[in-house]
Symmetry: C2
Subunit: 347 residues, 2 copies
């Protein structure tokens, strides 16, 4: 089967992450085409702020404010959703799949809450749905869990999955700052949003843990199954006491097999200072996995930011293009299909 000369991309959302992806597509078209087997061409961008086309150096006619125009464009093969938030992103992804478009998304909220429905739509319409960027930014996680560690029975995941809170905790630990001061610094640097509640309350980490645990344990773990407690009640003295006892304080996302159930929770944890996770500072993420064959594996890297996230989004696009050129559709496999043994989640 001959490779297609070009593959059309419809990009939804030209914010920090969407802008990063658009920039990388413009920056290195030849090396991406060599890897994908086809040129990756940005055909349509869905964005409210039409003025962005000038600053991005993208032609005006590529922009639209209407979802219908993007999803109905005959040359759009792959829809990349980088709007964020639950709605309308969920409806847009669902609709794109039913129109026979492959979808790549970085949306942890949509994927953790609507994974089951979206995957069954993707299977029905024989298209791919990929979400590597939804957990751990540029760190390969979804794909290692689904493919490279697939021979393992996973018994536990311990992750630093939220860069904002890890940045705040690092400054509290190293400089003795109070929570509110460290939060303010994070906001000034763009590491925390104006309304930081989803990050600091552990909700963002709970979404990501739900996705990883669902894949790793082969059974559905919903965000509401994950107990979460944030970092806003921590005080400077907690770090002093921890340090005296040889511990660091980290916001860990933990999912563990416990009998025939899964225990899934996000909360601040004392961890031994000499463990690898204790050394993960600033906006970095790290995920420690335990498998019956592989033993202990740790993945570490930038958990957010436009460049790192682009790395994951574009590798997802390239996998889809390779599948198109090979004549295969391989939607994200349904992790639920392998479940059944683990019947419920413990809070």
């Amino acid at each position: 089967m001959a490779a297609r000369e070009s593959i059309g991309i419809g990009l939804m959302g030209l914010g920090v992450i969407g802008g990063g992806v658009a920039r990388v597509l413009k920056e290195k078209p030849d090396s991406l085409a060599r890897e994908a087997g086809s040129q990756l061409v940005l055909k349509k961008i869905l964005e409210k702020d039409l003025a962005k086309h000038g600053s991005m150096g993208i032609e005006r006619h590529t922009f639209t404010t209407r979802f219908e125009e993007l999803v109905n464009h005959p040359d759009v093969d792959v829809v990349v959703e980088l709007i964020g938030g639950e709605y309308p992103a969920f409806e847009y992804i669902r609709e794109a799949l039913t129109r026979g478009k492959h979808v790549v998304t970085a949306n942890k909220e949509v994927m953790s809450k609507h994974w089951k429905e979206l995957l069954s739509v993707a299977q029905e319409y024989q298209v791919s749905l990929r979400c590597e960027a939804s957990v751990g930014g540029g760190i390969p996680l979804v794909s290692p869990f689904q493919e490279d560690l697939v021979a393992n029975d996973i018994s536990a995941i311990y992750g630093i999955l939220n860069g904002t809170t890890n940045y705040i905790l690092t400054r509290m630990a190293k400089e003795g700052l109070d929570f509110s001061v460290a939060l303010k610094k994070a906001q000034e640097l763009g590491y925390a949003e104006a309304d930081p509640s989803k990050d600091i309350e552990g909700i963002d980490a709970a979404y990501k843990l739900a996705i990883l645990a669902t894949i790793a344990f082969g059974t559905e773990v919903r965000p509401e199954d994950v107990y979460h407690e944030g970092i806003s009640r921590l005080q400077g003295c907690d770090f002093r006491y921890a340090g005296e006892l040889g511990y660091a304080i980290k916001l860990l996302a933990i999912a563990k097999l416990s009998g025939d159930s899964i225990e899934a929770r996000v909360h601040p944890v004392f961890i031994p200072e000499d463990s690898l996770l204790a050394k993960v500072d600033g906006v970095y993420n790290a995920i420690h996995v335990e498998g019956d064959l592989v033993g202990r594996v740790v993945f570490y890297g930038e958990g957010a930011g436009p460049r790192a996230t682009s790395s994951a989004v574009i590798s997802d696009i390239i996998k889809i293009v390779q599948d198109i050129n090979n004549g295969v559709s391989s939607p994200l496999r349904l992790p639920f299909a392998t479940g059944g043994v683990l019947s419920r989640c413990l809070k």
Copy 2:
């Protein structure tokens, strides 16, 4: 396309690693079949020591001492090479590919020296050749480099790729042991071979670095292009001096872009004590990668041992079976095809 009910495996070599893979195939046939879409059935084992069938609980007629019998068996779809060493493993792999068998190997020496020829044979005969287990044991590395980080231009790799030397260095650093004493301890525990020269002279790490660098930089890096210096001249006092200055000593495998060339070398290095690689103790491996998009990513885990290696070997088998069931052949992509820019290796 309907999935095949079963896929036949021909296993070459029933040593420590081969025995581990055979054990895992027997241990969890149902969960592996669920992931692969077909039963994985051990059809033939090539092994000189026929007495092993008893201890492994495998039927006598599965064993053969003749390569021809394994490779000609009509029910063998995938040949798994775990003999090790350059010859006859290389000829066996080559021959199996020309008979239309897919091949999975953990052989770093064969893959680093004969990669180009074997891949072109695999492409000619439209079969897969996979080698995840050849570098980093159970840590996903080959597949992340080939797939998940593919949008990146990689600028550097720093790896602890040899568990034997890292174990020796850890004991020298922590207990002040002399090299010869630490080596002896490693041999007693089975972490070092009777003839440890390939490990302690950095040759094993050079093979692995050649494989990773070839994939990461998209140009051929041969083992003889890699400068290597081992650890046998290190003394207890080196670790004391390093410690006083805030450094650890590790045997690092380093590949870096340097203008339009690649610098590739293995030698003992002073690294800052608070870096992640400095915290990698005992038989563990870790690989630090730098990419233009992803920034810094680190992969950590067990770099050897029968269970961890089985994790990688079996995930390679499962990917091949999924491809068979999807009607695709996707041989390991030719990293050389994307090269051309980087014309030579600097020593």
